[in-house]
Symmetry: C2
Subunit: 362 residues, 2 copies
């Protein structure tokens, strides 16, 4: 049996290789590669001819071979925080979904795709996928995965400034301190005398920075801190904590909740104690959910602008991957947006009949 006959050796019947294209077009492999990738010096006629033959054969270059040769896979890892065993948690549901969506779009627009990976350092999964870089959402201190990635020379960009000495390539975050101070001032302007905080027991920087800002604000204005902390990954614990906060003898007349479900939790707790919002209790929570636009009453929310964060993270990462502008700032701060609704205003702006819900601003 001659070896020349087995030209279609191991190739699957449905897939045509670059060799088949070259043979069908009557040119060499080099010419096919150059023609399809726009390289080399070829007359337009040859280029068109090769492309036509490739289309006719339904040729798709092997991603694995290309990756092996070029060292670039076009894949970006997306690591999401795991409080428990789940890839992401209820607390950040809407935030994560929005951020991931924006990141996906931004990556695709530049020819990259996102791979969802666990924060646990399971080598069997991490080492099985060739990554060009990684996005880490809210990395924990001394994250072993991040350390190993940077040790391998891969760029790592985090959503949320890294705790401790975590060696990320760059990070994108909000100014959580300023955001909290702004909300507290906003509530104080609306007449709040004692502002409470619903916070978390976890040690991530978001919770830490926000709580610290609250405590410093209290100290500055001379108010005793009134807060309840709960494990943010437990959706039921939030309702209990909201109840506790409003059951205290030093019950606050305004509350800021750090996590997405706190709005409904606090609203339900207020109803249980017969407190009217906003007359008896001013309410603000940090959330990306649109449901707070049509609750009764609508609740003022702080948006962390996850879309802008997701987009920025991807742009910074891909720039680092492609070696563009290493001189640019590796730390980027995205402004937050306070969406003021009825729950934080003593006097509702309008008492007339409201029209059908107006579109949310971007």
């Amino acid at each position: 049996m001659s070896r020349a006959e087995t030209s279609r050796r191991g190739s699957r019947p449905g897939r045509a290789g670059i060799r088949d294209v070259a043979a069908a077009a009557g040119v060499s492999i080099t010419t096919v590669s150059d023609a399809l990738n726009g390289k080399g010096r070829l007359p337009d006629a040859t280029r068109r001819h090769v492309r036509e033959v490739a289309d006719r054969l339904g040729y798709r270059p092997s991603a694995a071979a290309r990756t092996l040769r070029t060292g670039k896979s076009g894949l970006i890892g997306l690591t999401v925080t795991t409080y428990g065993d789940e890839p992401f948690t209820f607390t950040e549901f809407a935030y994560f979904a929005e951020m991931a969506r924006a990141a996906t779009s931004a990556a695709l627009a530049r020819g990259y795709a996102l791979v969802i990976l666990p924060a646990t350092s399971r080598h069997d999964v991490w080492s099985n996928v060739a990554l060009d870089g990684t996005v880490v959402i809210d990395p924990s201190d001394h994250d072993p995965v991040v350390s190993e990635l940077v040790r391998q020379g891969l760029p790592v960009v985090s959503d949320g400034r890294p705790a401790g000495t975590l060696p990320v390539t760059a990070w994108v975050d909000n100014d959580h301190e300023a955001a909290v101070l702004g909300i507290l001032d906003h509530l104080a302007d609306a007449g709040a005398r004692r502002i409470g905080l619903l916070t978390g027991t976890t040690t991530d920087t978001y919770t830490h920075l926000s709580t610290t800002a609250y405590l410093r604000w209290c100290e500055r204005v001379g108010q005793d801190p009134v807060y309840e902390a709960y494990p943010a990954h437990d959706p039921c614990a939030g309702a209990v904590a909201a109840d506790r906060l409003l059951a205290r003898p030093d019950r606050p007349d305004a509350v800021y909740g750090l996590f997405d479900p706190n709005g409904t939790d606090l609203l339900a707790a207020a109803r249980r104690y017969g407190l009217r919002v906003p007359e008896d209790l001013l309410l603000v929570c940090c959330s990306e959910s649109t449901v707070y636009a049509s609750t009764e009453p609508p609740i003022t929310t702080l948006s962390l602008k996850p879309r802008r964060i997701g987009t920025a993270v991807i742009q910074v990462l891909i720039d680092a991957i492609e070696g563009l502008g290493p001189d640019q700032p590796v730390e980027q701060v995205i402004p937050t947006e306070l969406i003021v609704r009825t729950s934080s205003q003593r006097r509702p702006p309008r008492t007339t009949v409201s029209p059908p819900r107006s579109p949310e601003r971007e």
Copy 2:
């Protein structure tokens, strides 16, 4: 310059190859490969020695090379519906997030990772990633991406039964028809005389099957259909449609909303028209969101069990990839769950003071 000196040719300084391990351990490449992959016939001493050296050098096999050689990448594509330009839409927000989370977990547990890909047939992205299989959420009729994937011999499993003659390998879905009929019966049992439907204008099978079931139910019980359809991808249109539905002269005394935000939309519209829920208007919507447990009143929801669907889709797909049990059913139906709350019961189950919100059932 001798060629032997350049043994560490193109390799990046941080990455050790299998050659380096072989040299450091004093064995051949074959022995290293066999020792690490548990193949061949090697004494345990050699096996341990090689593994030790590999660990010491921090050796990680190249995913690209392994994929090229074995033809398996360990990557599964996740294609999400795009109504507009965005990867996924508000309407299915919670559903998608839950489903994707479950699918991610299930895939990781079996050593696979998920790659988020656009439903548009952008070859430059699709052909740049080596996939072992693909999950398609709610595929549209004659989806070009799906057709091309199956033509390449890749298994494709869809969440939602495929419309028309789309040649998917397998699918997992709910029995939407039975679910709608069950809800309508539930509302009729609660005393509804005229049940309305808030539905979509899109042509996907979920909308189609649900609407058809509604119309047939109406015909069977002799009720005139009362429904409003709107483009489900537009979050504002839902509020307007809910308003229209309750503004009709033949206003329904019960409404089922097919999409996640319909609950809050309908609740807001009911308030605008002074309708009490559930006294004047019974409400059910299809949603995975936990906010409906603590709205005023809590709203009865239909859960499509996205976690079970996501898990099942991945199991079926990986079984197909690994050639396990091609004789198993390629069509799998996941039961839905109706979570009955106050909004669909004429007589609230309890009028006593309710305790802090109880945990949601799984």
